[in-house]
């Protein structure tokens, strides 16, 4: 049992790699959320006062933060399951195309949802297709050295974003909790 746990922990990516992946996830999810908030802002400005407007923004940011954590946990779990040299060793490099590919796919998928249930086959087709593309990109980025290096450098630069989004996310979460407790 101990050996199994040790083996699983060893497969877990390093803190630095987790940080940069988290920063990428935060950037993508928060940027989308802020963009959508701005899209709805003219409507909110019609009837929300400043306090309520900030509260609504806090909900957007808090939800984006929680969503980012869920996605990071998901990547962490995949890293534990897959062999180390397949995924955890190239955690930063392959997560860049994976996150971006999933984001594009999700953004496109959102537009096709209507007022009726698409059906499981339609959903599986979409995500199966996305999975294949993302997997291919991940393989390419994982195998080709220059691409892997490029990906690593991009991730390194992106990690700065966590200094912005983590405080915003935590503060927003506190605001939401506070407003619902007091």
């Amino acid at each position: 049992m101990k050996n199994l746990i040790r083996a699983l922990i060893e497969r877990f990516p390093s803190t630095a790699k987790l940080n940069s992946t988290f920063a990428l996830i935060l950037l993508v999810i928060h940027t989308w959320s802020v963009w959508q908030f701005l899209y709805r802002l003219p409507s909110y400005l019609m009837y929300l006062d400043l306090l309520n407007l900030l509260a609504v923004f806090a909900y957007y940011m808090a939800f984006a933060f929680v969503e980012s954590i869920i996605l990071l946990v998901l990547f962490g779990m995949i890293a534990i399951i897959l062999p180390k040299n397949w995924y955890a060793d190239h955690f930063e490099a392959v997560n860049l195309p994976i996150v971006l590919g999933m984001a594009v796919s999700a953004a496109k998928y959102q537009q096709q949802i209507g007022n009726t249930y698409s059906g499981i086959s339609s959903i599986l087709t979409w995500f199966g297709f996305t999975f294949l593309i993302v997997l291919s990109l991940a393989l390419i980025f994982g195998i080709i050295g220059p691409l892997r290096k490029l990906s690593g450098k991009v991730m390194e630069r992106i990690s700065i974003m966590s200094y912005l989004y983590i405080p915003i996310g935590l503060f927003s979460l506190l605001v939401v909790v506070f407003r619902n407790l007091v």
Binding site: V28, I29, W32, S33, Q36, F37, Y39, R40, S43, Y44, L45, M46, Y47, L48, D49, N52, A55, V56, A58, Y59, Y60, F63, A64, E67, I70, L71, M102, A103, A106, A107, Y109, Q110, Q111, I113, G114, N115, T116, Y117, S118, I123, V176, R179, N180, L181, V182
Partner: protein, 508 residues
């Protein structure tokens, strides 16, 4: 034709105040002062008087309501102060016109200045208050009186699937911000993008799947699936919920019960779907109005009207169980039942529904039926009344003095007291900021059967005049025909607009 000069008008105005104040609803008032009964205010969303047989509609859409009304007071010319749920409900619950309460926009609610003027605040300490709204926008207005309510029944209480997030007990203390963030925001309602990139579409697909399953489990008997109000519901479930609620009340209570039917999507029972098809009734269809942004053909309008009428008949059939319960259990002997709406619906002039800036009579003319405790005969009131009158009337029933701030009047309940000179207004400013000056609005005033409309919109400005008693479908526009009464009607409206500080630039 009657000739009215300005002096006559002033005299009539003075008479108005005196006569209405002199005739409160004596019987109901006495009964309530003793603190013995409940007051049940039933609101059917998007319910036009002009599609109800009781109000002269040729189709027998609501025979059970008609039966119920045989021992009630029917207000034949009741007008909603607002054109859709937000301003309509806010006026009903505050006794204020939309220019005062400022719940103008979709998602908006009553301004801070008036948020303590909701009916629940007025009745606080005199009678228990229970509120339920199956319309999420109406629920936000109810939420403003959260602390005063004895019981606020959650939005999803009688629904069949769980889609809405804000009514989760987690957000009980901050429902309004949660509502604005989650509904149609973090999670999109209908087509469009969720602000939550990954979880949004997953949650949406799950709720749509739940909705489909609810349809399979409970949708038998409906022609086109279960009715929906953000979440699916069944007409029978709503009526069961109402009966259970009323049956379980122990203390005298004011119950606000705002249900979604007959709001669209119109989902009638199968047995009513073809009830009015080929019945020989051909609705008068007016030409397309310039404010019809997406004009519908006459065929579409008539088909939508058929569905709406069939949905009304379905709802009426289900409500018959409540009327039966109220009658058999003796509920009607000791309690007051008020049935009304927040706004109406139209199928004319190229417009289907009520999402238009036009103040058309089918949208404004709503039913109001009041059954007083033990009432045994039908009374008919033909004077024009406003949805702002409901609050002062209920306050009087409970023995609370008419609040000074209300813009409504106690409803006349005896024929002799009818106030023919009453002016009732409707106002819409959905695209005008709630906090700003009133620059982009539609307004109407009805006086002695004449209705003047003024559209002061960013892209449209016009006056319209109708004789709504003779021409309820507004077929003959009277200004175009050179009707001389337009002058005094315009003056009436201009005076009101001036009083409320609305922008009058460019007014003709």
């Amino acid at each position: 034709m009657r000739h009215i000069n300005r002096r006559d008008f002033l005299k009539l105005g003075l008479l108005t105040s005196a006569s209405v104040a002199a005739y409160p609803i004596a019987k109901a008032l006495e009964s309530k002062k003793s603190g013995s009964g409940h007051i049940l205010l039933l609101v059917f969303d998007a319910w036009s008087a002009q599609n109800v047989n009781l109000y002269g509609y040729p189709r027998d859409t609501m025979p059970n309501l008609k039966k119920f009304s045989k021992t009630a007071t029917i207000f034949h010319n009741h007008i909603s102060a607002g054109r859709y749920t937000v301003p309509g409900t806010a006026s009903l619950l505050s006794g204020l016109y939309p220019w005062s309460h400022r719940a103008l926009n979709l998602g908006g609610r009553i301004t801070a200045k008036h948020q303590d003027h909701l009916i629940f605040n007025v009745l606080d300490g005199n009678i228990d208050t229970v509120a339920y709204a199956q319309n999420v926008y109406a629920d936000q207005i109810i939420g403003q009186a959260e602390e005063k309510l004895s019981q606020h029944i959650p939005f999803g209480a009688f629904n069949l699937n769980d889609r809405v997030i804000y009514d989760n007990p987690l957000f009980k203390k901050d429902q309004y911000a949660a509502f604005n963030a989650f509904e149609d925001g973090i999670i999109q309602d209908g087509k469009g993008a969720d602000a939550s990139l990954f979880l949004g579409p997953m949650i949406r697909e799950k709720t749509l799947r739940d909705q489909t399953i609810a349809g399979f489990n409970h949708g038998a008997g409906y022609y086109n699936g279960l009715p929906e109000s953000f979440e699916s519901y069944s007409l029978a479930g709503l009526v069961d919920g109402l009966i259970d609620l009323v049956d379980g009340l122990t203390e005298p209570s004011f119950i606000y019960f705002h249900v979604y039917p007959p709001h669209d999507p119109y989902r009638p029972y199968y047995k009513f779907y073809n009830a009015f098809r080929d019945d020989g009734f051909s609705p008068a269809t007016n030409p397309i109005h310039p404010l019809a942004s997406e004009p519908r053909t006459k065929v579409v309008l008539n088909n939508n009207r058929l569905s709406y009428d069939a949905f009304l008949a379905s709802w009426d059939a289900e409500m018959s169980r409540f009327f039966e319960y109220a009658s058999q259990s003796g509920f009607l002997n000791q309690n007051t039942v008020i049935v009304t709406s927040d706004h109406g619906e139209m199928f004319d002039k190229g417009i289907s529904g009520h999402m238009t800036t036009m103040l058309s009579q089918p949208i404004l003319h709503i039913p109001l039926i009041i059954h007083n405790p033990g009432q045994t005969e039908q009374r008919d009131i033909y004077t024009f009344t406003s949805s702002t009158d409901v609050l002062p009337t209920i306050a009087a029933m409970v023995g609370v003095e008419q609040p000074a701030w209300t813009e409504g009047k106690i409803l006349p309940m005896i024929n002799e007291s009818e106030d023919k000179s009453r002016i009732v207004y409707s106002f819409d400013a959905i695209h005008n900021p709630a906090f700003g000056a009133l620059k982009n609005y539609s307004v109407s005033a009805i006086w002695d059967g004449l209705k003047i409309c003024y559209y002061h919109l960013n892209d449209y400005e016009n006056w319209e005049l109708y004789d709504v008693l003779q021409d309820p479908v507004e077929h003959n526009e009277l200004i175009a025909q050179g009707d001389k009464r337009q002058t005094i009607m315009k003056d009436i409206l201009k005076a009101k607009l001036d009083e409320i500080g609305a922008d009058l630039s460019g007014i003709g």
